[in-house]
């Protein structure tokens, strides 16, 4: 299992707001053993999706020079379960930034298809899932006695690739 909980950025305004999407699929192993026989996206992984969306937004605000680590989840509230076939939409907004860290206000919604009439059509709707307020620490500025390496293990090549891909709006035709 790869530790990537977002698939694509839909919007990215450095220092302001980011919107990222995550498709939920039965192909993902973790959905299956949570509640045996009833695949569902665990809330903790929804929080991680928001953390990754927001972490990249906070990191970009200081040019990925800081090691941005999730330090606090002030409040995460859920009103709906998320199922396979649905697409999670994470909207993260920077509320505050200082040298030692930042706070984020996040909203989670889900795009889901609802069956239309008997003609096999369906309609895409967006429904609320929850809200997540979280805080990141710039750990180099704020050591607090923790030991960690010097290189930026947070903004590694995998994340940087994901971040770059949202700018790709070209199509490749066969």
């Amino acid at each position: 299992m790869r530790w990537i909980w977002i698939d694509k950025f839909e919007k990215f305004e450095p220092g302001v707001v980011a919107v990222a999407l995550k498709n939920v699929s039965l192909a993902e192993e973790h959905l299956h053993d949570y509640v045996p026989g009833f695949p569902v996206m665990p809330a903790s992984l929804i929080i991680e999706g928001m953390a990754q969306t927001a972490g990249i937004l906070v990191g970009a605000a200081r040019n990925f020079q800081e090691k941005v680590i999730l330090a606090k989840i002030s409040n995460a509230t859920f009103s709906r379960l998320v199922r396979p076939g649905e697409q999670i939409v994470y909207t993260a907004r920077i509320a505050n930034v200082k040298e030692t860290g930042a706070s984020i206000e996040g909203v989670v919604t889900v795009r889901t298809r609802v069956a239309g009439g008997g003609d096999g059509t369906s309609q895409l709707v967006e429904e609320p899932v929850g809200t997540i307020a979280m805080m990141f620490s710039h750990i180099d500025q704020n050591m607090a006695g923790l030991k960690f390496p010097e290189f930026n293990f947070v903004f590694n090549s995998q994340f940087m690739e994901l971040f770059e891909t949202y700018r790709w709006d070209f199509q490749i035709k066969l």
């Binding site: 330090a71 606090k72 002030s74 509320a95 505050n96 200082k98 040298e99 030692t100 860290g101 706070s103 805080m135 620490s137 704020n142 607090a144």
Partner: protein, 126 residues
Amino acid sequence: MTQDEVFAKVQDVLTTALAVDKEEVTPEARLSADLGAESIDYLDITFQLEKTFGIKIPKGELIPENLFSNPEFVSNGKVTAKGIAELRSRMAFADLSKFEADPDINKFRDVFTVDTLVRYVLTKVN
């Protein structure tokens, strides 16, 4: 703003930020030792106080910086007389009497009580 008004708002900020019960947030309560505040909580509290009271809290004004790394101010894990004088000037709003009686740098966090925050805010709003 009166002291009581400031206290009531600071109490709300801390109840939310530290996820504690309102009754626990007494004036003498120490943010870390009694209310469980971690370093990130101090930043959260700073953001919330700025928002609640419409004030700006510059770096080092509430929580002094570069104090204990200075050898003139710390000796053998205790703050020196020079250090205490420096602390008094940087944190004029605080009641440092308990700390001065036992200036162990490991006990510095205990200076940050709910009352310390109230006193700080009062210097900024009035």
